[in-house]
Protein backbone atom coordinates (compact mmCIF):
# COMPACT_ATOMS: atom_id res chain seq x y z
CA UNK A 1 0.00 0.00 0.00
CA UNK A 2 1.52 3.28 -0.97
CA UNK A 3 1.66 6.27 1.31
CA UNK A 4 -1.09 8.80 0.57
CA UNK A 5 -0.32 12.44 -0.14
CA UNK A 6 -2.78 13.36 2.57
CA UNK A 7 -0.79 11.43 5.21
CA UNK A 8 2.47 12.80 3.83
CA UNK A 9 1.23 16.37 4.18
CA UNK A 10 0.63 15.85 7.90
CA UNK A 11 4.05 14.46 8.87
CA UNK A 12 5.76 17.78 9.52
CA UNK A 13 4.38 20.32 11.97
CA UNK A 14 6.10 23.55 12.94
CA UNK A 15 7.60 22.14 16.10
CA UNK A 16 7.52 18.35 15.70
CA UNK A 17 7.68 15.56 13.10
CA UNK A 18 5.81 12.29 12.91
CA UNK A 19 7.87 9.14 13.49
CA UNK A 20 6.97 7.83 10.00
CA UNK A 21 9.65 10.11 8.53
CA UNK A 22 12.23 7.83 10.17
CA UNK A 23 10.53 4.45 10.15
CA UNK A 24 8.15 4.06 7.22
CA UNK A 25 9.63 2.27 4.16
CA UNK A 26 7.07 3.92 1.85
CA UNK A 27 8.13 7.36 3.04
CA UNK A 28 11.76 6.36 2.43
CA UNK A 29 10.89 5.31 -1.13
CA UNK A 30 9.19 8.64 -1.73
CA UNK A 31 12.21 10.47 -0.27
CA UNK A 32 14.48 8.72 -2.77
CA UNK A 33 12.24 9.91 -5.60
CA UNK A 34 11.26 13.39 -4.49
CA UNK A 35 14.16 14.57 -2.32
CA UNK A 36 17.26 12.55 -3.26
CA UNK A 37 15.98 12.38 -6.83
CA UNK A 38 15.84 16.17 -7.13
CA UNK A 39 18.35 17.85 -4.81
CA UNK A 40 22.03 18.30 -5.73
CA UNK A 41 23.77 15.28 -4.22
CA UNK A 42 27.52 15.10 -3.57
CA UNK A 43 29.17 12.53 -5.84
CA UNK A 44 32.91 12.91 -5.30
CA UNK A 45 35.92 15.12 -5.80
CA UNK A 46 37.64 15.63 -9.14
CA UNK A 47 41.00 14.70 -7.58
CA UNK A 48 39.66 11.13 -7.28
CA UNK A 49 39.59 10.92 -11.08
CA UNK A 50 42.71 12.91 -11.93
CA UNK A 51 43.61 10.98 -15.05
CA UNK A 52 41.60 9.93 -18.10
CA UNK A 53 40.01 6.54 -17.48
CA UNK A 54 39.90 6.86 -13.71
CA UNK A 55 36.51 6.30 -12.13
CA UNK A 56 34.79 5.87 -8.78
CA UNK A 57 31.43 4.27 -8.05
CA UNK A 58 28.92 5.60 -5.57
CA UNK A 59 25.21 6.24 -5.17
CA UNK A 60 22.78 9.13 -5.52
CA UNK A 61 20.07 8.13 -3.07
CA UNK A 62 19.70 4.46 -3.95
CA UNK A 63 20.78 4.89 -7.61
CA UNK A 64 24.23 3.44 -8.37
CA UNK A 65 26.36 5.89 -10.37
CA UNK A 66 29.87 6.20 -11.78
CA UNK A 67 32.02 9.32 -11.75
CA UNK A 68 34.47 9.06 -14.67
CA UNK A 69 36.95 11.19 -16.59
CA UNK A 70 37.09 10.78 -20.35
CA UNK A 71 40.08 11.13 -22.68
CA UNK A 72 39.38 14.81 -23.29
CA UNK A 73 39.55 15.43 -19.54
CA UNK A 74 35.84 15.94 -19.06
CA UNK A 75 34.16 14.49 -15.97
CA UNK A 76 30.88 12.56 -16.22
CA UNK A 77 28.31 11.20 -13.79
CA UNK A 78 26.63 8.14 -15.33
CA UNK A 79 24.09 5.65 -14.11
CA UNK A 80 26.09 2.51 -13.31
CA UNK A 81 23.76 0.38 -15.38
CA UNK A 82 24.14 -1.51 -18.63
CA UNK A 83 21.79 -0.31 -21.40
CA UNK A 84 21.19 -3.91 -22.36
CA UNK A 85 19.71 -5.79 -19.41
CA UNK A 86 20.42 -3.39 -16.58
CA UNK A 87 23.36 -5.11 -14.86
CA UNK A 88 25.63 -2.93 -12.76
CA UNK A 89 28.66 -2.35 -14.99
CA UNK A 90 31.44 -1.24 -12.59
CA UNK A 91 31.68 -3.15 -9.31
CA UNK A 92 34.88 -1.78 -7.77
CA UNK A 93 34.90 1.31 -5.55
CA UNK A 94 37.47 2.90 -7.88
CA UNK A 95 39.66 1.97 -10.79
CA UNK A 96 41.19 2.92 -14.12
CA UNK A 97 39.98 1.63 -17.47
CA UNK A 98 39.93 2.47 -21.16
CA UNK A 99 36.22 1.63 -21.36
CA UNK A 100 33.38 0.24 -19.26
CA UNK A 101 32.44 -3.31 -20.16
CA UNK A 102 29.43 -5.16 -18.83
CA UNK A 103 30.60 -8.58 -17.61
CA UNK A 104 27.36 -10.29 -18.67
CA UNK A 105 26.99 -9.95 -22.48
CA UNK A 106 30.03 -7.79 -23.14
CA UNK A 107 28.40 -4.52 -24.16
CA UNK A 108 31.09 -1.90 -23.79
CA UNK A 109 30.87 1.83 -23.27
CA UNK A 110 33.10 4.85 -23.77
CA UNK A 111 34.12 6.74 -20.63
CA UNK A 112 31.34 9.25 -21.32
CA UNK A 113 28.80 6.41 -21.28
CA UNK A 114 28.17 6.17 -25.05
CA UNK A 115 27.74 2.65 -26.36
CA UNK A 116 30.92 1.46 -28.07
CA UNK A 117 30.64 -2.22 -28.98
CA UNK A 118 27.87 -4.81 -28.93
CA UNK A 119 29.22 -8.33 -29.51
CA UNK A 120 27.62 -10.45 -32.24
CA UNK A 121 25.67 -7.40 -33.34
CA UNK A 122 24.24 -9.13 -36.44
CA UNK A 123 21.37 -10.25 -34.22
CA UNK A 124 20.16 -6.65 -34.21
CA UNK A 125 20.08 -6.33 -38.00
CA UNK A 126 16.59 -5.61 -39.21
CA UNK A 127 15.45 -4.61 -35.73
CA UNK A 128 14.94 -1.00 -34.61
CA UNK A 129 18.09 -1.20 -32.43
CA UNK A 130 20.19 1.95 -32.76
CA UNK A 131 23.70 2.26 -31.28
CA UNK A 132 23.10 6.01 -30.89
CA UNK A 133 19.85 5.64 -28.97
CA UNK A 134 20.52 6.91 -25.41
CA UNK A 135 18.43 4.11 -23.91
CA UNK A 136 21.25 1.71 -24.88
CA UNK A 137 24.00 3.81 -23.31
CA UNK A 138 25.22 4.14 -19.75
CA UNK A 139 23.09 7.21 -19.36
CA UNK A 140 24.38 10.43 -17.88
CA UNK A 141 22.36 11.74 -14.92
CA UNK A 142 20.17 14.75 -15.68
CA UNK A 143 22.59 17.38 -14.33
CA UNK A 144 26.09 17.56 -12.95
CA UNK A 145 28.16 20.53 -11.84
CA UNK A 146 31.21 21.11 -9.72
CA UNK A 147 32.57 23.82 -7.51
CA UNK A 148 36.33 23.85 -6.85
CA UNK A 149 36.52 20.16 -7.66
CA UNK A 150 33.53 19.10 -5.56
CA UNK A 151 31.18 17.28 -7.95
CA UNK A 152 27.44 17.29 -7.33
CA UNK A 153 24.71 15.78 -9.47
CA UNK A 154 20.95 15.99 -9.67
CA UNK A 155 18.72 13.30 -11.13
CA UNK A 156 16.18 15.99 -12.06
CA UNK A 157 16.42 18.10 -15.21
CA UNK A 158 14.80 21.11 -13.53
CA UNK A 159 15.68 22.96 -10.35
CA UNK A 160 18.07 25.61 -9.08
CA UNK A 161 21.62 25.57 -10.42
CA UNK A 162 24.36 24.28 -8.10
CA UNK A 163 25.51 27.74 -7.02
CA UNK A 164 22.01 28.85 -6.08
CA UNK A 165 21.45 25.55 -4.29
CA UNK A 166 24.67 25.80 -2.25
CA UNK A 167 23.97 29.42 -1.25
CA UNK A 168 25.89 30.49 1.83
CA UNK A 169 27.45 27.03 2.25
CA UNK A 170 29.64 27.74 -0.77
CA UNK A 171 31.85 29.83 1.55
CA UNK A 172 32.65 26.67 3.55
CA UNK A 173 33.92 24.89 0.43
CA UNK A 174 35.81 28.01 -0.62
CA UNK A 175 37.35 28.42 2.82
CA UNK A 176 38.54 24.83 2.93
CA UNK A 177 40.24 25.28 -0.47
CA UNK A 178 41.64 28.70 0.44
CA UNK A 179 43.35 27.13 3.45
CA UNK A 180 45.74 25.60 0.91
CA UNK A 181 48.60 27.92 -0.12
CA UNK A 182 47.69 27.19 -3.76
CA UNK A 183 43.92 27.24 -3.19
CA UNK A 184 43.45 23.57 -3.91
CA UNK A 185 42.52 20.42 -2.02
CA UNK A 186 42.75 16.77 -3.02
CA UNK A 187 41.30 13.56 -1.63
CA UNK A 188 43.81 11.36 0.17
CA UNK A 189 43.34 7.60 0.03
CA UNK A 190 40.22 5.58 0.58
CA UNK A 191 37.23 6.57 2.67
CA UNK A 192 36.46 5.51 6.20
CA UNK A 193 33.03 3.87 6.02
CA UNK A 194 30.72 3.52 9.01
CA UNK A 195 27.44 1.63 8.71
CA UNK A 196 24.55 2.97 10.79
CA UNK A 197 21.42 1.01 11.73
CA UNK A 198 19.29 4.14 11.59
CA UNK A 199 17.55 6.52 9.25
CA UNK A 200 19.77 8.94 7.32
CA UNK A 201 18.10 11.99 8.83
CA UNK A 202 19.21 11.08 12.35
CA UNK A 203 22.83 11.45 11.28
CA UNK A 204 22.15 14.69 9.39
CA UNK A 205 20.13 16.23 12.24
CA UNK A 206 22.83 15.40 14.76
CA UNK A 207 25.47 17.50 12.98
CA UNK A 208 24.01 20.79 14.12
CA UNK A 209 22.48 19.43 17.33
CA UNK A 210 24.52 21.22 19.96
CA UNK A 211 22.49 20.00 22.94
CA UNK A 212 23.87 16.48 22.73
CA UNK A 213 27.68 16.80 23.01
CA UNK A 214 27.84 17.57 26.74
CA UNK A 215 25.66 14.53 27.44
CA UNK A 216 26.42 11.99 24.72
CA UNK A 217 30.14 12.77 24.71
CA UNK A 218 30.60 13.41 28.41
CA UNK A 219 32.38 10.10 29.00
CA UNK A 220 35.16 10.64 26.49
CA UNK A 221 35.53 14.21 27.77
CA UNK A 222 35.88 12.98 31.36
CA UNK A 223 38.24 10.17 30.40
CA UNK A 224 40.44 12.52 28.39
CA UNK A 225 40.63 15.08 31.20
CA UNK A 226 41.50 12.37 33.69
CA UNK A 227 44.43 11.20 31.58
CA UNK A 228 45.63 14.69 30.64
CA UNK A 229 45.55 15.72 34.31
CA UNK A 230 48.07 12.96 35.04
CA UNK A 231 50.59 14.41 32.55
CA UNK A 232 53.58 16.16 34.11
CA UNK A 233 53.06 19.86 34.80
CA UNK A 234 54.03 22.06 31.85
CA UNK A 235 53.73 19.21 29.34
CA UNK A 236 52.18 20.42 26.06
CA UNK A 237 48.53 19.45 25.49
CA UNK A 238 48.54 16.42 23.21
CA UNK A 239 46.87 16.96 19.83
CA UNK A 240 44.36 14.22 20.64
CA UNK A 241 43.22 16.06 23.77
CA UNK A 242 42.95 19.32 21.80
CA UNK A 243 40.61 17.56 19.40
CA UNK A 244 38.49 15.62 21.89
CA UNK A 245 38.13 18.17 24.71
CA UNK A 246 35.83 20.70 22.94
CA UNK A 247 33.26 17.90 22.50
CA UNK A 248 32.58 18.32 26.17
CA UNK A 249 32.10 22.09 25.76
CA UNK A 250 29.40 23.89 27.75
CA UNK A 251 25.89 24.76 26.59
CA UNK A 252 26.93 28.40 26.76
CA UNK A 253 29.90 27.72 24.48
CA UNK A 254 27.69 26.06 21.87
CA UNK A 255 24.99 28.75 22.20
CA UNK A 256 27.61 31.39 21.52
CA UNK A 257 28.64 29.66 18.29
CA UNK A 258 25.14 30.22 16.95
CA UNK A 259 23.40 28.20 14.30
CA UNK A 260 22.89 29.56 10.79
CA UNK A 261 20.26 28.09 8.51
CA UNK A 262 19.49 28.79 4.87
CA UNK A 263 17.26 27.72 1.97
CA UNK A 264 17.13 24.07 0.80
CA UNK A 265 17.72 22.75 4.34
CA UNK A 266 21.39 23.75 4.71
CA UNK A 267 23.01 24.96 7.93
CA UNK A 268 26.24 25.46 9.81
CA UNK A 269 27.36 26.41 13.29
CA UNK A 270 30.02 28.88 14.31
CA UNK A 271 31.50 31.28 11.82
CA UNK A 272 34.42 33.02 13.41
CA UNK A 273 34.83 30.54 16.24
CA UNK A 274 34.14 26.81 16.56
CA UNK A 275 35.32 23.68 18.34
CA UNK A 276 38.40 23.91 16.09
CA UNK A 277 39.45 27.47 16.96
CA UNK A 278 42.01 26.67 19.62
CA UNK A 279 44.20 24.19 17.77
CA UNK A 280 47.90 24.91 18.07
CA UNK A 281 49.85 26.04 15.04
CA UNK A 282 51.62 23.63 12.78
CA UNK A 283 55.21 24.67 11.91
CA UNK A 284 55.67 26.04 8.41
CA UNK A 285 51.97 26.38 7.64
CA UNK A 286 51.58 30.10 8.36
CA UNK A 287 54.75 30.85 6.43
CA UNK A 288 53.51 28.97 3.36
CA UNK A 289 50.14 30.75 3.54
CA UNK A 290 51.60 34.24 4.04
CA UNK A 291 53.99 33.70 1.13
CA UNK A 292 50.98 32.94 -1.09
CA UNK A 293 48.36 35.39 0.08
CA UNK A 294 49.94 38.03 2.33
CA UNK A 295 49.21 38.37 6.04
CA UNK A 296 45.94 40.29 5.77
CA UNK A 297 44.29 37.79 3.48
CA UNK A 298 45.59 34.86 5.54
CA UNK A 299 44.08 36.33 8.71
CA UNK A 300 40.78 36.65 6.88
CA UNK A 301 40.89 33.04 5.61
CA UNK A 302 41.85 31.54 8.95
CA UNK A 303 39.29 33.62 10.85
CA UNK A 304 36.48 31.62 9.26
CA UNK A 305 35.95 28.59 11.42
CA UNK A 306 32.69 26.77 10.87
CA UNK A 307 31.50 23.70 12.69
CA UNK A 308 29.76 21.07 10.53
CA UNK A 309 28.37 22.68 7.43
CA UNK A 310 25.44 20.58 6.23
CA UNK A 311 24.60 20.68 2.53
CA UNK A 312 21.23 18.97 2.81
CA UNK A 313 20.75 16.08 2.37
CA UNK A 314 24.02 14.40 1.43
CA UNK A 315 27.15 16.38 2.21
CA UNK A 316 28.71 17.64 5.43
CA UNK A 317 31.97 19.48 5.60
CA UNK A 318 34.46 20.82 8.13
CA UNK A 319 36.42 23.60 6.48
CA UNK A 320 38.90 24.05 9.33
CA UNK A 321 39.78 20.33 9.55
CA UNK A 322 39.41 19.31 5.89
CA UNK A 323 37.11 16.37 6.50
CA UNK A 324 33.86 15.61 4.68
CA UNK A 325 31.25 13.14 5.81
CA UNK A 326 28.95 11.90 3.09
CA UNK A 327 25.54 10.43 3.86
CA UNK A 328 24.40 7.45 1.75
CA UNK A 329 20.89 6.19 2.57
CA UNK A 330 20.49 2.46 1.96
CA UNK A 331 17.13 1.64 3.53
CA UNK A 332 14.73 3.35 5.92
CA UNK A 333 16.85 2.07 8.85
CA UNK A 334 20.26 1.73 7.20
CA UNK A 335 22.68 4.53 6.34
CA UNK A 336 26.30 4.47 5.27
CA UNK A 337 28.40 7.41 6.42
CA UNK A 338 31.69 7.82 4.56
CA UNK A 339 34.44 10.09 5.84
CA UNK A 340 36.76 11.58 3.20
CA UNK A 341 40.02 13.34 3.96
CA UNK A 342 41.57 16.22 2.04
CA UNK A 343 45.15 17.39 1.68
CA UNK A 344 45.71 21.13 1.52
CA UNK A 345 47.93 21.09 -1.57
CA UNK A 346 51.19 22.91 -0.85
CA UNK A 347 50.79 22.88 2.95
CA UNK A 348 53.08 20.98 5.33
CA UNK A 349 52.16 17.28 5.51
CA UNK A 350 51.51 17.67 9.24
CA UNK A 351 48.28 19.50 8.36
CA UNK A 352 47.09 16.27 6.75
CA UNK A 353 48.20 14.34 9.82
CA UNK A 354 45.93 16.50 11.96
CA UNK A 355 43.03 15.94 9.55
CA UNK A 356 43.60 12.19 9.80
CA UNK A 357 43.94 12.25 13.60
CA UNK A 358 40.73 14.25 13.92
CA UNK A 359 38.73 11.84 11.79
CA UNK A 360 40.12 8.75 13.52
CA UNK A 361 39.23 10.15 16.94
CA UNK A 362 35.77 11.46 16.02
CA UNK A 363 34.42 9.73 12.88
CA UNK A 364 35.83 6.21 13.05
CA UNK A 365 33.52 3.29 13.85
CA UNK A 366 36.11 2.55 16.55
CA UNK A 367 36.33 6.10 17.91
CA UNK A 368 35.05 7.08 21.35
CA UNK A 369 32.71 9.71 19.87
CA UNK A 370 30.93 8.21 16.83
CA UNK A 371 29.72 5.02 18.59
CA UNK A 372 27.91 7.07 21.26
CA UNK A 373 26.06 9.01 18.54
CA UNK A 374 25.44 5.74 16.67
CA UNK A 375 23.94 4.21 19.77
CA UNK A 376 21.58 7.13 20.37
CA UNK A 377 20.33 7.07 16.76
CA UNK A 378 19.76 3.34 17.02
CA UNK A 379 17.84 3.81 20.29
CA UNK A 380 15.55 6.29 18.53
CA UNK A 381 15.15 4.04 15.50
CA UNK A 382 14.26 1.14 17.77
CA UNK A 383 11.84 2.99 20.06
CA UNK A 384 10.06 4.88 17.30
CA UNK A 385 8.75 1.53 16.05
CA UNK A 386 6.72 1.23 19.24
CA UNK A 387 3.11 2.34 19.26
CA UNK A 388 3.70 4.58 22.27
CA UNK A 389 5.95 7.03 20.41
CA UNK A 390 4.46 8.98 17.53
CA UNK A 391 6.06 12.41 17.52
CA UNK A 392 9.62 13.71 17.67
CA UNK A 393 10.03 17.16 19.17
CA UNK A 394 12.01 20.08 17.73
CA UNK A 395 10.81 23.23 19.49
CA UNK A 396 13.93 24.44 21.34
CA UNK A 397 14.32 28.22 20.93
CA UNK A 398 11.48 28.37 18.41
CA UNK A 399 10.57 31.95 17.59
CA UNK A 400 14.01 33.32 18.49
CA UNK A 401 15.38 33.31 14.95
CA UNK A 402 16.82 36.48 13.44
CA UNK A 403 17.10 37.06 9.70
CA UNK A 404 20.30 38.19 8.00
CA UNK A 405 19.21 38.21 4.37
CA UNK A 406 18.93 34.61 3.19
CA UNK A 407 20.47 33.35 6.42
CA UNK A 408 18.60 32.78 9.69
CA UNK A 409 20.57 33.03 12.93
CA UNK A 410 19.61 31.17 16.13
CA UNK A 411 21.29 30.31 19.41
CA UNK A 412 23.60 27.31 18.94
CA UNK A 413 21.44 24.92 20.94
CA UNK A 414 18.28 25.80 19.01
CA UNK A 415 16.46 23.08 17.06
CA UNK A 416 16.31 25.55 14.18
CA UNK A 417 18.62 23.44 11.97
CA UNK A 418 16.16 20.52 12.23
CA UNK A 419 13.14 22.75 11.67
CA UNK A 420 14.86 24.22 8.61
CA UNK A 421 15.65 20.73 7.28
CA UNK A 422 12.03 19.67 7.65
CA UNK A 423 10.85 22.85 5.95
CA UNK A 424 12.95 21.82 2.94
CA UNK A 425 11.92 18.18 3.35
CA UNK A 426 8.28 19.17 3.22
CA UNK A 427 8.82 21.30 0.13
CA UNK A 428 10.53 18.44 -1.69
CA UNK A 429 8.00 15.85 -0.55
CA UNK A 430 4.94 17.89 -1.36
CA UNK A 431 6.36 19.10 -4.65
CA UNK A 432 6.65 22.76 -3.76
CA UNK A 433 10.41 23.22 -3.90
CA UNK A 434 11.41 26.05 -6.25
Amino acid sequence: MSYSQDRLDKLVEKNRVHRDVYTNPEVFKLEMERLWGRAWIYVGHESQVKQAGEFITTTIGTEPVVLSRDKSGQVHVLYNRCGHKGAKVAAQKCGKTSMFRCPYHGWSYHLDGKLNVVPHACGYDDTDFDMEDPQFSMQPVARMASHRGFVFASLAADGPNLKTFLGATIATIDNMCDRSPVGEVEVVGSSLPYMHDSNWKMFIENLNDAVHPMVAHASVGHSTRKVVDRLPEGAPTPREAEIISPFGGSYEFFDSLGCRTMPYGHSFMGGKGSIHSSYSEIPGYMESMVASYGQEKVDEILSQNRHNTTVYPSFTLKDAVQVARVCRPIAVDKTLVESWHFRLVGAPEEMLHRTITYSRLINSPASMVGPDDWDCYERMQDSLRSESAHWVDMRRFIGQEKSEGDVTVSPGTSDQASRNQYKAWNEYMTGEVS
Binding site: S190, M195, T224, P238, E240, R360, A366, M368, D375, R379
Partner: protein, 165 residues
Protein backbone atom coordinates in the same frame (compact mmCIF):
# COMPACT_ATOMS: atom_id res chain seq x y z
CA UNK B 1 82.08 -21.20 23.92
CA UNK B 2 80.35 -20.04 20.79
CA UNK B 3 77.45 -18.48 22.65
CA UNK B 4 78.72 -14.90 22.44
CA UNK B 5 78.79 -14.87 18.64
CA UNK B 6 75.83 -17.14 18.07
CA UNK B 7 72.58 -15.51 17.04
CA UNK B 8 70.01 -15.74 19.81
CA UNK B 9 66.91 -17.55 18.59
CA UNK B 10 63.85 -16.44 20.51
CA UNK B 11 61.76 -19.22 21.95
CA UNK B 12 58.52 -19.39 19.91
CA UNK B 13 56.64 -21.09 22.74
CA UNK B 14 57.55 -18.31 25.10
CA UNK B 15 56.38 -15.74 22.54
CA UNK B 16 53.11 -17.57 22.02
CA UNK B 17 52.54 -17.64 25.76
CA UNK B 18 53.03 -13.86 25.78
CA UNK B 19 50.54 -13.38 22.91
CA UNK B 20 47.99 -15.56 24.69
CA UNK B 21 48.43 -13.46 27.82
CA UNK B 22 47.87 -10.30 25.74
CA UNK B 23 44.65 -11.51 24.12
CA UNK B 24 43.46 -12.97 27.45
CA UNK B 25 43.58 -9.45 28.88
CA UNK B 26 41.49 -8.15 25.95
CA UNK B 27 39.02 -11.01 26.39
CA UNK B 28 38.76 -10.11 30.08
CA UNK B 29 38.17 -6.43 29.17
CA UNK B 30 41.13 -5.46 31.31
CA UNK B 31 42.38 -2.58 29.19
CA UNK B 32 44.57 -1.09 31.92
CA UNK B 33 46.64 -4.27 32.33
CA UNK B 34 46.61 -4.78 28.56
CA UNK B 35 48.03 -1.29 28.06
CA UNK B 36 50.82 -2.09 30.52
CA UNK B 37 52.13 -4.69 28.05
CA UNK B 38 53.15 -1.89 25.67
CA UNK B 39 56.46 -0.04 25.66
CA UNK B 40 56.30 3.69 26.38
CA UNK B 41 56.44 4.37 22.62
CA UNK B 42 54.06 1.49 21.88
CA UNK B 43 51.17 1.76 19.37
CA UNK B 44 48.10 -0.24 18.36
CA UNK B 45 47.12 -0.07 14.68
CA UNK B 46 43.96 -1.23 12.89
CA UNK B 47 44.32 -0.11 9.24
CA UNK B 48 41.32 0.51 6.97
CA UNK B 49 43.10 -0.49 3.74
CA UNK B 50 44.79 -3.76 2.82
CA UNK B 51 48.59 -3.35 2.79
CA UNK B 52 48.32 0.15 4.27
CA UNK B 53 51.81 1.45 4.99
CA UNK B 54 51.12 4.85 6.56
CA UNK B 55 49.27 5.38 9.85
CA UNK B 56 49.74 9.18 9.87
CA UNK B 57 48.93 10.35 6.34
CA UNK B 58 46.13 7.85 5.67
CA UNK B 59 43.02 7.23 7.70
CA UNK B 60 42.93 4.09 9.90
CA UNK B 61 40.14 2.57 11.98
CA UNK B 62 42.39 2.82 15.04
CA UNK B 63 45.94 4.10 15.51
CA UNK B 64 46.61 4.83 19.16
CA UNK B 65 49.57 5.52 21.37
CA UNK B 66 49.80 4.83 25.08
CA UNK B 67 48.01 8.04 26.01
CA UNK B 68 45.03 7.17 23.83
CA UNK B 69 45.08 3.65 25.26
CA UNK B 70 44.81 5.20 28.72
CA UNK B 71 41.83 7.33 27.63
CA UNK B 72 40.17 4.28 26.09
CA UNK B 73 40.78 2.25 29.25
CA UNK B 74 39.09 5.01 31.29
CA UNK B 75 36.22 5.26 28.81
CA UNK B 76 35.65 1.49 28.54
CA UNK B 77 32.46 0.68 30.40
CA UNK B 78 31.98 4.35 31.37
CA UNK B 79 28.53 4.82 32.89
CA UNK B 80 27.87 8.00 30.89
CA UNK B 81 28.58 6.46 27.47
CA UNK B 82 25.49 5.27 25.57
CA UNK B 83 27.62 2.77 23.65
CA UNK B 84 28.98 1.26 26.85
CA UNK B 85 25.71 0.12 28.38
CA UNK B 86 26.04 -3.34 26.86
CA UNK B 87 28.16 -6.36 27.61
CA UNK B 88 31.36 -6.58 25.59
CA UNK B 89 32.75 -10.12 25.48
CA UNK B 90 35.37 -11.48 23.15
CA UNK B 91 37.21 -14.67 22.44
CA UNK B 92 40.49 -14.64 20.54
CA UNK B 93 41.94 -17.70 18.85
CA UNK B 94 45.53 -17.32 17.65
CA UNK B 95 47.37 -19.73 15.38
CA UNK B 96 50.15 -20.06 12.80
CA UNK B 97 52.48 -17.88 14.84
CA UNK B 98 55.75 -17.39 12.97
CA UNK B 99 58.84 -15.31 13.52
CA UNK B 100 59.31 -12.77 10.72
CA UNK B 101 62.29 -10.81 11.94
CA UNK B 102 64.76 -10.81 14.78
CA UNK B 103 67.52 -8.44 15.77
CA UNK B 104 70.99 -9.97 16.09
CA UNK B 105 70.74 -10.32 19.84
CA UNK B 106 67.14 -11.45 19.68
CA UNK B 107 65.88 -8.59 21.81
CA UNK B 108 63.61 -7.12 19.12
CA UNK B 109 61.45 -9.40 17.06
CA UNK B 110 58.47 -9.29 14.71
CA UNK B 111 55.98 -12.14 14.94
CA UNK B 112 52.92 -12.65 12.81
CA UNK B 113 49.96 -14.82 13.65
CA UNK B 114 46.55 -15.56 12.22
CA UNK B 115 43.55 -14.94 14.38
CA UNK B 116 39.82 -15.42 14.54
CA UNK B 117 38.02 -13.39 17.16
CA UNK B 118 34.40 -13.46 18.14
CA UNK B 119 33.12 -10.27 19.70
CA UNK B 120 29.74 -10.20 21.38
CA UNK B 121 28.60 -6.59 21.51
CA UNK B 122 24.84 -6.34 21.01
CA UNK B 123 25.25 -9.00 18.30
CA UNK B 124 27.97 -11.60 17.78
CA UNK B 125 30.50 -10.67 15.10
CA UNK B 126 33.48 -12.48 13.64
CA UNK B 127 36.73 -10.67 12.98
CA UNK B 128 39.58 -12.48 11.27
CA UNK B 129 42.97 -11.71 9.79
CA UNK B 130 46.54 -11.43 10.90
CA UNK B 131 48.19 -9.62 13.72
CA UNK B 132 51.77 -8.51 13.53
CA UNK B 133 53.48 -7.88 16.83
CA UNK B 134 56.73 -5.99 17.09
CA UNK B 135 58.10 -7.05 20.48
CA UNK B 136 61.01 -5.77 22.55
CA UNK B 137 62.69 -7.65 25.38
CA UNK B 138 62.48 -5.61 28.59
CA UNK B 139 64.03 -7.41 31.52
CA UNK B 140 62.77 -10.96 31.64
CA UNK B 141 59.60 -10.26 29.69
CA UNK B 142 58.44 -9.03 26.30
CA UNK B 143 56.81 -5.67 25.67
CA UNK B 144 54.79 -4.62 22.59
CA UNK B 145 56.27 -1.89 20.41
CA UNK B 146 53.42 -2.24 17.93
CA UNK B 147 50.44 -4.50 17.49
CA UNK B 148 49.08 -4.23 13.96
CA UNK B 149 45.82 -5.99 13.18
CA UNK B 150 44.97 -6.54 9.51
CA UNK B 151 41.36 -7.59 9.16
CA UNK B 152 40.51 -9.52 6.01
CA UNK B 153 37.54 -7.13 5.72
CA UNK B 154 39.37 -4.00 6.90
CA UNK B 155 37.70 -1.91 4.19
CA UNK B 156 34.16 -3.23 4.83
CA UNK B 157 31.32 -1.03 6.07
CA UNK B 158 31.86 -1.67 9.78
CA UNK B 159 29.46 -0.84 12.56
CA UNK B 160 30.79 0.33 15.92
CA UNK B 161 33.92 -1.42 17.20
CA UNK B 162 34.21 -0.66 20.91
CA UNK B 163 37.25 -2.70 21.95
CA UNK B 164 40.68 -3.45 20.50
CA UNK B 165 40.71 -6.62 18.40
Amino acid sequence: MLAASKKETPDLQEIEAFLYRETDLLDAGNLHAWRDLFTEDGTYWLPVSPDQDDPLGHISIIYEDKMMMAIRAENFGHRLAASMQYAVRSSHVLANTRLLESSADGSEIVVKSNFQTMIYYRIQSVYAGTCTHKLRREGSDWRIVQKRVDLINCDADHKSIVIYI
